[in-house]
């Protein structure tokens, strides 16, 4: 029996175990769920040791003698104190340094997600799409303006905003259904194609 056959058999067993939950909760499902979590962690820990700890901590300190690396390494290890009631405050220091990355991203995020998006909404009315974008943007922004009651002409405009949002949610939901069905297709393709060789 080849390695591929054995691995396909194991994968098929776990796929069917997970699917069995659709009928009702059972020990096969629970077993597959626990094994999945265990394997994920078991895989991640040595990989992180090999690709994170060794190149970023062990090698610089012990091979290249870059002792200043000890400072961020010790700072990072303060995270362990999350589990201590009395010393958990120490874990806030690495978090503070981590937040520096967030701060660095603020101006660029402002540019990418606000300014460029605003610019792309300010287009000349040379086709139907730009007119629709204009109506949608204005009516939705007015809908989220809660200082004024949504009635009369104002209420009608905000109703247009609701319709736009409903169309947006519908598109998202349609895509979500497609995604979920795709996952099922992927698994059935595996069972019928890779395991049983029925998909040509």
């Amino acid at each position: 029996m080849s390695f591929e056959t054995i691995s396909n058999f194991i994968a098929a067993f776990f796929t069917l175990s997970i699917f069995s939950f659709l009928y009702k909760d059972n020990p096969f499902y629970k077993f597959a769920e626990a094994v999945f979590i265990g394997v994920s962690m078991g895989y991640a820990i040595p990989l992180i040791y090999k690709d994170v700890f060794t190149p970023f901590v062990y090698r610089p300190i012990f091979v290249e003698s870059k002792f200043w690396i000890l400072i961020p390494a010790l700072m990072g290890s303060l995270y362990v104190f999350r589990f201590s009631k009395n010393l958990s405050w120490l874990s806030r220091y690495p978090i503070v340094f981590g937040m520096a990355i967030v701060g660095m991203g603020v101006p660029l995020s402002m540019h990418s997600y606000v300014l460029v998006q605003m610019r792309s909404a300010m287009l000349p009315f040379d086709n139907i799409n730009t007119i629709l974008i204009f109506i949608g943007t204005v009516s939705i922004l007015l809908y989220f303006f809660f200082s004024r009651e949504h009635k009369g002409v104002y209420g009608k405009v905000t109703n247009v905003g609701i319709w736009y949002m409903m169309v947006g949610f519908g598109a998202s939901f349609g895509y979500t259904v497609m995604a979920r069905i795709s996952l099922l297709i992927g698994r059935i393709q595996f069972l019928l194609g890779d395991c049983l060789g029925l998909v040509k």
Binding site: D51, L108, V116, M178, I185
Partner: protein, 324 residues
Amino acid sequence: MAEKKISFYERMQALDRRYIYLVVALAIIIPLLIPFNSKTYVTEPSENIYKKIDSFAGRKDRAVLLSFTHDASTMAELFPMEVSILRHCFERNILVFTICFLPQAKPLMDYALQTAKEGYEVQSGIDYVNFGYKPWAIFVPLLLKMGDDIAEAVETDDEGRIVNNLEIMKEIKNYNEMNLIVDFSGSAAGLRWITYARAKFGANVALGVTAVMAADNYIYLQSGQLTGMLGGLKGAAEYEKLVDVFATHKELDENGILKPAPREFSKEIIKESWIKMSDIKNRQHKTARIGMNAQTVAHIMIIVFIVLGNIGYFVSKRKTEKVS
């Protein structure tokens, strides 16, 4: 006592959900076992990625970076697009870099490379290089450093070689040369490339995302921040078709032997092209298109259920109103 008559719609409303699961399963299994040739319409966001990648063909001073930011749960949608893009690159002699920032993405990245490489004589370090897994914590610093020098930022590849010494890096320095980044994810992770690589260095960014995420990303296509996007299994099917119609196109030579004859992208050709699924021997090269057949039938079933459910709801509501 006479039993109360239950109408068809009431019965549908009270239907055990497991019957619906069974019908959906059959709607997927049957089209997979009895495949049919449904037409794949190619959309502009997919065309744009194809055209951008194809413009690098045969050039040693241009490369594509493929970033894998997903785990096995989204493999059904993302894996076919990864394999298609890699095949496109290998077929057209386009330099490729691969990288991942999640431990779970590492085996999937290796598997995609291994699958796409079948049938191509490509060499690691010359035609492509796998940068391997890099920790998520250094994602932003690494991404910014790549703007100056990719080799210095990445340092070593997956095989532990110094990236700067690799032949593939001879004419590749930073985002000016590695001019397209394609991020595959089932989350908003790819948007970070827009925030940093696009905004700061003007790099071209494209996304391969799960269908759940696709709707959220159209705004970035409209604003021009994204070069293109492959959305879910449909996007993967479109790219598979583009690769088959253009990149791996073959023509008969004067001796009647089929020879590779890649052709430029053309809207007219793609409109008229019709590929018979049974003509494609390698199943990995048509996974998404076979899947889309099943997807079509499953969607029809879901629409039928939604319509029946709604009719049932309104009929029951009317009955209740009449009684009261």
